[in-house]
Symmetry: C2
Subunit: 446 residues, 2 copies
């Protein structure tokens, strides 16, 4: 993430507003909350992710000297304001859902409490960081739920929207339960298992497919996974059987084959039978090519004997819904709740907490969005403080802790919400206190 965390990654209006706040002497404490206004179609729940990158961003927030010089060349800003920017750091408190938490519409997932200028200037990059990974984790978990026990690998880097998107998608997919990624740099940055074998070009560069397979096996004897759809998949599977006998003499086993085109269900059945007949029942079948949770579901229901899937473009771009309808809104300033009333964009004012209630069977019953200070008897509070006065609280969480958290929450999720089709919405209730607050603000015209 180095080099990408400059404070200049923001919208110009954040700076023009800040200058106005400075001029007006408005420096009281503000609370902003990030939430998703409504769930996209085809998502019965969402998964929070990206908090670690947000904390890194906030801890390192600053404008460099060179950046301040550049800003001073823009017409809009006064020297006093530029001087202020040059020493600006983020000193606020942050509460958030831990990564790997399930969440729903209108629930605050990140809450920032800081002097208004600081809470405001971080808006753009804060949304940018949290939306991407939460969107990908929420997409990836659907494939995880549809293909239990199958090996799932992120293949998306090439079609991701830039380098950071590819890296963060690999992280978010792993957090959601994928087994690994093809992305080497993501493997290094996040200690995620890395997978990969060969492309069609490797086969095509050789004059003979069987020869290509054999040379590859000799080069990578512990990881022989052969791509068999370059010319004729079934014939190629027969070549694999013949090759396996020769390789066995060298103590090399063919671990698996990969299919990347054609009717994957029928081809997998044909290949499975050729491999089994050839004594290669241990050799796995891995499939890739335009896959998503719907395709996985369809193929597995059709009885495709496929052991693992490479999921790329449709995951990494969250193809059916490439953004979340999220907003980061001012909820309180100088101790007073605030409420936007723009049509269709009204929001619940004040500093809030989310409580989750469970039934006797351990399944989630409903969530309640409440005022932070509202006395409540029941429910598990979901937002935790993760930064105080600009510094991280506690130790950095590992990805495996986040994976475990999500795995546990999936067991608590009402089973109907795990379907890939649209389920009846999970109840998100508004507390009495919050409802009274809105009535009072409306009646007072606030």
């Amino acid at each position: 993430m180095n080099g990408q965390n400059t404070a200049l990654l923001t919208d110009l209006y954040q700076l023009t507003m800040m200058q106005a706040y400075r001029r007006e002497g408005m420096s009281d404490t503000a609370t902003f909350e990030l939430f998703v206004r409504k769930l996209p179609p085809n998502r019965n729940f969402l998964v929070a992710a990206g908090l670690e990158q947000l904390i890194e961003y906030l801890e390192n927030f600053k404008f460099s000297e060179e950046e301040c010089e550049w800003l001073s060349t823009l017409a809009d800003f006064t020297p006093e304001f530029i001087a202020y920017l040059s020493s600006l750091r983020f000193t606020g408190d942050v509460h958030a859902l831990p990564e790997g938490s399930v969440f729903f519409q209108n629930e605050p997932i990140v809450r920032v409490t800081a002097p208004i200028s600081e809470a405001q200037i971080v808006e753009t990059r804060l949304i940018n960081i949290i939306q991407l990974q939460s969107m990908i984790a929420s997409k990836a978990v659907r494939a995880v739920l549809e293909a239990p026990g199958k090996l799932l690998v992120d293949f998306g880097l090439r079609r991701a929207h830039g380098a950071e998107a590819g890296l963060m998608a690999a992280r978010a997919a792993y957090l959601a339960g994928f087994d690994g990624t093809s992305n080497v740099f993501a493997g290094k940055l996040f200690d995620i298992p890395i997978y990969g074998t060969m492309a069609h070009s490797y086969i095509m560069a050789h004059d003979d497919e069987a020869e290509a397979f054999e040379r590859f096996a000799e080069s990578l004897p512990n990881n022989v996974l052969l791509l068999i759809d370059t010319y004729d998949t079934l014939k190629s599977a027969q070549k694999v059987v013949a090759l396996a006998a020769r390789l066995a003499a060298k103590n090399i086993a063919v671990k698996g084959v990969r299919l990347d085109s054609g009717d994957l269900v029928e081809l997998a059945k044909g290949v499975r039978s050729i491999l089994d007949d050839g004594g290669l029942s241990e050799c796995t079948i891995f499939a890739s090519g335009d896959l998503d949770e719907h395709e996985l579901s369809r193929m597995l229901e059709a009885g495709a004997p496929i052991d693992g899937f490479g999921v790329g473009t449709r995951l990494t771009t969250s193809q059916d819904m490439p953004y979340l309808n999220c907003a980061y809104k001012l909820q309180e300033y100088a101790g007073r709740p605030r409420r936007k009333r723009s049509k269709g964009k009204e929001n619940w004012p004040g500093r809030k907490q989310v409580y989750r209630c469970y039934g006797d069977d351990g399944h989630m019953l409903h969530d309640v969005i409440a005022e932070e200070t509202e006395p409540r008897a029941e429910g598990e509070p979901l937002l935790r403080q993760v930064m105080a006065q600009g510094k991280r609280i506690g130790a950095q969480e590992t990805l495996s802790v986040m994976r475990e958290r999500l795995r546990g929450q999936l067991q608590q999720l009402p089973p109907t919400l795990k379907a890939i089709g649209e389920a009846r919405a999970y109840p998100v209730l508004i507390s009495e206190g919050l409802q009274r607050l809105v009535e009072r603000m409306d009646s007072e015209g606030l």
Copy 2:
């Protein structure tokens, strides 16, 4: 882009293939081409973009010492191979469509000719760089064509897929004819005009909307653009009229107002009439909020008196088609053309050039994909050499040159292709030489 250009931004299989090539002594010259297999629905043409970032990546391609050490901890690689990686640079030739060029399905837009390992290892990031900007430029140009004479500003950073996506989308949108971006860092990196005023939070942090407007105007007297939809848009427009009189005494003019919610057509008409009646006919109306080319078209056809648009999420994520169906394929190795036959993914073999033919009226008639060495009498060759032996040829192009190129090509484009609806496909012909080559390869079973 610093920090994001490590050679580790690749798929693991590129490295496993390379090691096999090394072991086999396969180091002959290969040619790979990047092309889009078919146009997405709702795109009658595409716009090439991202070449500048690709050249930077290729010129700086290397594995650092620390990265090589890390790679050596993975089980798959031999010390000899790691030593080779540590001195690896990209030494190949690159031909490409200049940025801002219109292109169509199957046309090579980048052609890499290099020792096979070099041409292979750069695949992942090459696609990643070119697809993103070409996809965004191809989306943005549709808004440009639908809103001639209107101010168009990219607002997408917050919902972009990470930082790089936001930066490159700002660049690609500007290249496609947008007037600027709200993205401050993109403004600095690419010298793109930056736009911005205020968010709802600024209004909400004040106890009184009119007071917020006045304070803002005093802080930014040369750029008074007021957001008027936080509470009641029409009432707010009346406050702007009242305020304008007071500001006039201080020699401050209200330049414009922004609408971000509600029925933008009706509100714009109402606001225009209030402003005009109040003597503010020079004050412009700017609209934002879930916009794309279809909304722009609809609003302008409905007579909305809107002078400019902020286009965010749907542009930056290319919401209706968040990827291009692109591929980077081996076309020639060791002097011999190569052809993949995977079902539905067959491609045209050999090293190729694209020729564009024009009618007497100056409009494009058709393109022809031909062998590079095929003698041809007619048409303008589109691919130009941009790198030789790993180094850039000629000077870096400016964004304004690219904008002008696209503007010129839009004038040559058959007018039907400029519609946002689906038009009859532009003819992309395959040369006789290429057809003969494929027949020969098929008959020889190559």
